[in-house]
């Protein structure tokens, strides 16, 4: 006897939506509205008081966005999700829900540059301090925890260096300290890894990337695993103590496995308002419908590119955990059995100038500040995504000036290779001119 609950590919298409409750519309309708009629004053009061479920105002929730939220929760195995206008706003909302002035966080040092800046430069202005730890330094995460630490945050596969953090071990460290592990799983999508199965408590995505795939729409989401016990200690009073904003409501007691999302929505969306537009939610869902098909092609193309780059005379080094020589290869096999993902970091011989020549001369690969598009993308992180970091921070984040970050698309692999040959030829020519 086996449960007949729907599986990943089916959930990608159907989760969160019933046509029979939407005039039979097969496609999810776009509810392009700011607000929703109340039946009467009692209904209005009940919605505002969280007595009943429903929509009040699209800053807080919207029926189209809610389908996306439920769909991603289903795919991740989470109890609840909250979509936002971008991945960065989802991260900000998580921190604002979790922390207050005087709190501290422990972070992996290999994060998207924008995330690093949020934690390094902006949050300290609000009294929230952070300690960065190299992703492979598992003991370092433990050592960095202080009395006022409220969580550990990391990306499973670090951006852009492709170093893995040992999620199950770091989750144990977090839980032994009575704090949650928050994982940015943008690179993996739930097709490659479900962080809740490895101990994460909150997952965040930039849906702009692989989840949508088409590179047309900004969106982010936080997903709650539902296992974390907020009542186990007194570290999270705003989750466990009566909240004045809702007549003394204790989120943890009342909502249990969805307490974090309920607080993030009812307080965070109310006060900060980084809501996702219904049109962008709908656009993202068009991408999610083909998530598993695309991710298979992304991973297969990435592995072929790793082989191509590893054997190329113009390439100094390649980092991708599918490579048996990658220091995290065994961990990747365990945590990412469906594929390591399509982000490759490589060093070009000739350093920064060669890198710039390469990027200026590829034609198929797009030079831009995004990842996870269906099209192949390249960027030189030291001069773009991570350019606001000083030398020491760059080094600590594992960045070198010869590094090129490659997001492998789903084009024909031979076309990508041919395009790269053109880039390498231009870089080599530059080297010849300089030497002459």
């Amino acid at each position: 006897m086996d449960p007949k609950t729907y599986k990943f590919d089916t959930l990608s298409l159907h989760a969160g939506y019933q046509p029979s409750k939407n005039s039979g519309s097969r496609q999810v309708p776009i509810y392009q509205t700011t607000s929703y009629l109340f039946d009467d004053v009692d209904h209005a009061a009940a919605l505002f008081n969280l007595e009943r479920g429903g929509h009040i105002y699209s800053r807080i929730s919207n029926p189209t966005v809610a389908v996306l939220e439920e769909r991603v929760a289903a795919l991740e195995g989470g109890t609840a999700a909250l979509a936002t206008s971008s991945g960065m706003s989802a991260i900000f909302l998580i921190i604002m829900t979790l922390c207050q002035a005087g709190d501290h966080l422990v972070l992996s040092s290999q994060l998207y540059g924008g995330t690093v800046n949020l934690f390094r430069l902006t949050l300290p202005k609000f009294g929230i301090k952070c300690t960065f730890v190299k992703p492979r330094d598992t003991q370092g995460f433990k050592d960095a925890i202080q009395e006022n630490t409220k969580g550990i945050f990391g990306e499973l596969v670090g951006n852009p260096g492709n170093e893995l953090m040992n999620m199950p071990e770091i989750a144990n460290i977090a839980h032994n300290a009575g704090i949650p592990l928050i994982v940015d799983s943008t690179y993996q999508t739930p097709y490659l890894c479900k962080p809740f199965e490895h101990g994460a408590d909150i997952v965040v995505h930039s849906l702009t990337k692989w989840m949508a795939g088409h590179g047309s729409s900004m969106a982010g989401i936080l997903v709650e695993g539902g296992k974390f016990d907020w009542l186990q200690n007194d570290k999270f009073p705003s989750m466990t103590q009566p909240y004045e904003g809702y007549h003394g409501l204790s989120f943890a007691e009342e909502f249990g496995p969805t307490a974090f999302t309920m607080k993030a929505r009812s307080e965070g969306m109310r006060d900060f308002g980084p809501c996702l537009s219904p049109q962008n939610a709908w656009n993202v869902m068009q991408g999610i419908e083909t998530l598993s098909i695309r991710m298979k092609k992304h991973c297969s193309n990435a592995e072929k590119m790793v082989e191509f780059l590893s054997n190329h005379e113009s390439v100094a080094w390649v980092s991708h955990a599918s490579d048996p020589d990658h220091p995290d290869h065994e961990l990747a096999k365990k945590l990412l059995p469906n594929g390591v993902g399509s982000m490759i970091a490589f060093g070009i011989k000739g350093g920064k100038e060669a890198g710039e020549a390469f990027i200026n001369n590829v034609k198929l690969a797009s030079h831009l500040a995004n990842v996870g598009d269906t099209r192949t993308l390249v960027i030189h992180p030291a001069s773009a995504t991570h350019s606001q970091m000083d030398e020491a921070t760059l080094k600590f984040a594992g960045l070198s000036h010869d590094m090129i970050r490659l997001s492998v698309g789903i084009e024909d692999i031979e076309d990508i290779k041919n395009d790269f040959e053109d880039g390498f030829r231009a870089a080599k020519k530059l080297k010849f001119v300089i030497n002459k």
Partner: protein
């Protein structure tokens, strides 16, 4: 709130308002392996509109201490003890699934204490599939997956939670797995399997009773719910369409509207 029942620390949600002895008491009793949280879309509404509310975590469940009680009869006695523990003389009972067996047995034993009875997804007997029972007693999480499958209708399986962004199946699964499956679901399933007094107890009840059933309930089918209702005098039956066993969440608004109308009529707030 936490309070003592038979020297054990027991947790119950009061729906966001303090328990008030000047307001009539409604006690909500959850189903197998679950907790007070499955009542969140009913309890706050009553608590903010004239009632005192206790959505209980049975012993050994959710945030309550102690060990799970072994039989439906013990659980029925325990509900009576809860009423005494909070120093009330009477209460209305609302049960879901196994909670219906408990509240029916309690209402039959304590007619002077129980003022109305509301049964959701109930039946006079709830025999458990033996493979499912074995999985639960052996702490196998597959029992939870199977239960979530059986317990939910289209809203659970496809989606459309009344609270935006929430996911029926994963919430249910997490509630059951918040404690050891064998200690909650395993014990509860065995108690349901062993309980045979449902129809006898039902015949003794003579108080306003409501049965809310769902046409796609695969755990307590409509015909089983109607059979129980037929054994109770003064029983009203409502059937919710296109809904599974977890009607209190899958169709929370409809369930609440029916429940409110019934309780306001038969056990009005002062």
């Amino acid at each position: 709130m936490k309070f003592k029942v038979n020297n054990e620390d027991i947790f119950a949600s009061t729906g966001g308002r303090p328990l008030d002895k000047n307001k009539p008491l409604i006690i909500f009793v959850h189903g197998s392996g679950l907790t007070h949280m499955c009542w969140v879309l009913q309890t706050r509404s009553f608590a903010f509109h004239g009632y005192s509310v206790l959505a209980l975590d049975l012993p050994g469940h959710g945030l309550s201490g102690g060990n799970s009680l072994q039989s439906i009869e013990e659980m029925a006695e325990w509900i009576s003890d809860v009423i005494d523990a909070v120093d009330f003389k009477e209460a209305s009972l609302v049960g879901h699934s196994q909670g219906c067996l408990i509240t029916v047995e309690c209402a039959a034993r304590y007619p002077e204490k129980i003022k109305t009875l509301s049964l959701m997804g109930g039946a006079g007997a709830i025999p458990i599939n033996l493979e499912l029972l074995s999985l639960a007693e052996n702490n196998d999480s597959k029992a939870v997956d199977l239960m979530m499958d059986f317990a939910h209708g289209p809203s659970g399986h496809f989606g459309g939670h009344p609270v935006p962004g929430l996911h029926h199946l994963n919430i249910g699964s997490m509630l059951v797995q918040s404690r050891e499956v064998k200690d909650t679901l395993g014990v509860d399933f065995r108690a349901c399997q062993n309980y045979t007094n449902g129809f006898n107890a039902a015949k003794k009840i003579n108080l306003p009773t409501l049965s809310i059933l769902a046409d796609q309930d695969r755990m307590c089918r409509v015909k089983d719910g109607k059979k129980l209702a037929d054994h109770i005098k003064n029983s009203e039956v409502y059937i919710i369409e296109n809904c599974g066993h977890m009607m209190l969440l899958e169709e929370a608004d409809k369930t609440l509207a029916i429940l409110k109308k019934f309780i306001k009529k038969n056990y009005p707030a002062y």
